[in-house]
Amino acid sequence: MAGLLFALTLLTLVVALVVFGWPLSTWMARTYTSDTDWRVERGVYRLLGVDARAEQRWPNYLRGILAISVLGVLFLYALQRLQPLLPFSLGLPAVPPGLAFNTAISFVTNTNWQSYSPEVTVGYTVQVAGLAAQNFLSAAIGIAVAIALVRGIAAKSTGTVGNVWVDLVRTITRVLLPLSLAAAVVLLATGVIQNLSGFPVVHTLTGGTATIPGGPVASQEAIKELGTNGGGFFNANSAHPFENPTGFSDLLEIVLLLLIPFALTRVFGLMVGDRRQGRAVLATMVLLFAIVLGAMAAFETAGGGTATTAAGGAMEGKEQRFGVLTSVLFATSTTLTSTGAVNSMHDSFTPLGGMVAIIDMMLGELAPGGVGSGLYGFLIVAILAVFLAGLMIGRTPSYLGKQVGGREITFVSLYILTTPAVVLIGLGLTFAIPAVAADVSSTSIANPGPHGFSEVLYAFTSAGNNNGSAFAGLSANTPWLNASLGAAMWLGRYLPIVFVLALAGSFANQEPRPTGAGMLATHRPQFVLLTAGTVLVVSALTYFPVLALGPLAEGLAS
């Protein structure tokens, strides 16, 4: 019965994604190729003093991205530190420096890692003007970078990758704002709250009192999922009934967080002028999604012990209103995208089920990945697969007519190197520095043994991949973890962006070569399997030893 319901849920999800994703992708492709500006956009360009018609080479494009990100961090940091002076701050004090630093980076990098309980740390002004505003901006940055890469691939030796200001502004005005507005209204209808009522005290049936925090939740919830941000209004995130009250709102949130990443595959196909390429990317993502979803579902329903059997699955840490399989679907969706919103506590999953959540992120968040970052992350691996496969058919490799030579493979290699390096070095330093290791094991880690290690592993994997979800047993609000995870988020976001834009520039300089017989067909099932295999093998080889010491050691112990 549960299985049948789950199948229907999946079917609904697929139908919803197709129904909304199809027109959205057409609309987005038009958004990034149109020559006309909306009036409001022209206003913004005048305000910024930019020439919207100027095509930029990649270094200029990158400078725009970095400038707006650095300013974003400074602004968000200042906003948190000045919280007592702001209106609607609910009387909350200034956010401590270490936490403010971590949170500023976290929201600018689209990670939304939260080392704090939002409802008791940040007031409405910081939530709306700071965090929610960055939710829009960081999502727009991801999409813009992906579009720049697609333009580079499609370019005919123009050398330019687009205009960063136009891409950012249009992403917000034409894609994110309208969609968020619509999504927020529907979320309101499902029962998500939207008020400015602070902390009303209610009298409970038993005669006691309870303080129930309110706030502008629905507006923030929409962009939290749509922009694959994941930062909750409440500490419990989407497990909180005010953020995610019903099974319907749950499914809606899953649709929202998968919508843009999947739609971008078709945008890619449309913009490079070969829809089959977009379909192949989509097929690979869906294949990987199905594999990890199946694995996690198997581990969670099998569980262990009599309690699990009685409950029909491992129910610890899961909401009764969602059940095991829907929680698994949410967990898979949120860790495969860079969302990090949770409707259940991943820390309480079975060891192997929790491991799948970690693996989802370790794959590089590319099936379908965060908004924009999923597409560019995927294309990077596809280019790596092209490089090996191209050689194996006796040609120097090329993707969609663009040569993958020394320069291109250097950027691809650096990209692929970055996230593992950030995650593993962060992890290694944590345990190599004696004082830090002592602090982490006494203060932060809630559980002894391999599970405690898994909590730290999850934290660095989540930060390095800009996911933001956590094994909640870890107390991360410590100087070391705030600083090191902050650094991991920043490097894990912007180093790859530098390499992607450099690659985009390198492709943009090339005149495309004709593709045809004798070339690697990158739209066929063969290439889909090859790319999926490359993703799995490369991640497995990188992370197998650390997984063996954490979740595998815990899960295989009998």
Binding site: T396, G406, I425
Partner: protein, 713 residues
Amino acid sequence: MTTTTAPAPEERPEEHVDTRAPKGAFSASQLVQNLPDAIRKLAPRDMVKNPVMLIVEVGAALTTVLAIALPFLGSDGTTIGFTWAIAVWLWLTVLFATLAEAVAEGRGRAQAASLRATRTTTMATRVTGYDAAADPAAKSAALESVASADLRQGDVVVVVEGEVIPGDGDIIAGIASVDESAITGESAPVVRESGGDRSAVTGGTRVLSDRIVVRITSKPGETFVDRMIALVEGAVRQKTPNELALSVLLASLTIVFLIVVLVLGPIAGFQRSTPGVAVLIALLVCLIPTTIGALLSAIGIAGMDRLVQRNVLATSGRAVEAAGDVTTLLLDKTGTITYGNRRAVAFLPLPGIDETRLTEAAALSSIADPTPEGASVVELAGERGFTPTEAPGRTVVPFTAQTRMSGIDESDGRALRKGASASVLAWVHEHGAVAPAVAAALEERVRAISEQGGTPLAVAELDAGGTARLLGVIHLKDVVKAGLAERFAALRSMGIRTIMVTGDNPITAKAIAAEAGVDDVLAEATPEEKLALIRREQEGGRLVAMTGDGTNDAPALAQADVGVAMNTGTSAAKEAGNMVDLDSDPTKLIDIVTIGKQLLITRGALTTFSIANDVAKYFAIVPAMFVGVFPGLRALNVMGLHSPDSAILSAVIFNALVIVALIPLALRGVRYRPSSASALLGRNLLLYGVGGVIAPFIGIKLIDLVVSLIPGF
């Protein structure tokens, strides 16, 4: 570079064919022979060029130090025997890598030795104050004797019968037969003469007859032979663009694995299961792509060597790689697509004429025609059962440019003529009128043959009574080589377009192109049009390969991505191209493309294999490392390896042995048959990807069975 290398005294030109590198064969004895070189290559100075193997060498050195120090330091959890075993096998891993390179280079060395024999210092006769206008043959000019090493570009030398040509150059006066066997391995002498496309001579070759005046075109130490020696020895081998790209990828994978292993210490330490240093080094070496790292340079050297074995010299590895990417082949019609000579294929009698009569007349009129066309007429008649016999008093009338006919005059006044239809018609007219119906019938046959791309020859006879009549037409045509259509179809499936280049008129050209199955044709081609065609193709992003021999081909050769100059060609052509075909065989272009592809495929296949191997090695080593603290990880020991120590050692041994096992493949190249890209990819993925995952599971298990017999493991 010096020219003082002693020649091998027993070297004789006739034996050069035999001294060439063994073709494709690989024997264990080669490993032994090249061992000293392999050991020399272990010097860190040389290893720096190969970062992957440098890490293995550093790991081997560290493990050795550890093994020596272990009795004094106290154990870190590993036994002395185990540490020594790992150290030895790590050294062997590095040695196998250098051995692969040494073997690959060794195969070129035989060729280089025979070439070097030609590079001895000879005395040259230099002309002082050469005057091209007054005394082109330098008959009365002052001569001086200088060492060939002292010759400069632009010097003019005289070479006479029996002398060795002192340097690369062009003949500016005279004609000579030259023994080029030292370079080409072909013992039949070739004719070289001033002017035209056969004027280039190579230093080190010997003049067999006559006297020539040569202008030296090469600088000392940069002659063709010098370049060849450097190439076949791999001494000046620079990494090619794709090899560099692959090296970047391998280096980044190595860095990832280095990080993985480095952080494993502290992380495992937190779990109280710190692995020994030797174990961590073993893990690192097993993970980094040692298989491809060890064989990468051998693959490159062997690729060049395969070209050399086919008598093609590439001036750079870059050109070989580009050959794999070629999408357009410009093929000369003559010699490549057709046999080069028109051949008679049919006799078409006029109405009322017996075909036998025409056959006989055609054959008889051709006995005085020594051209291949004439011979083919006699041959075709022979196939039809007629052999011309001698008759007394017969006069042969040879072909001349004026008459454009050949034939015979019998003693009784009868005569036969064969030639261009207009000339033959005129000859018949001389002996009386030709009926309009007959003329029309002739015209019709002539036109039909022309339209099919053939050449018509009319045949007429004069009887004893002095009356001439037309007999019919011989159909001569360019005969397309057998099996070409299939070959071009295979090329098409590889994504390669073939364009036939010919000086013929468009009608003839199209007919032959259709018969041969080429994709396009450039008729009435001039060198300028050839160059324009190449530019046009390249603008569309295609890579073009062509062959050429004449000086006027030089611009096109230089423009083409792969320009193969014929060895018979001029030095201008040889300088312009990036390959030289010593056999001067234009069909070899297709082989060159195949070799280029094979080179890339071998690299890709072994990289995939190398990475796929890591999966099994993890399953061997990771449970072995941590099973002491986490007994549950025993479940990952899917191979059922004997003990942690034997598991780790077996993985290291497998990692080393697989290098040796793949040396023959690296040298020979992965088998390549023209087929569609997806079929090729599917096959290679299955073999080297899936096979690469499975093979080490079996290999490590087998090695473990042996290792487990060793006491202490």
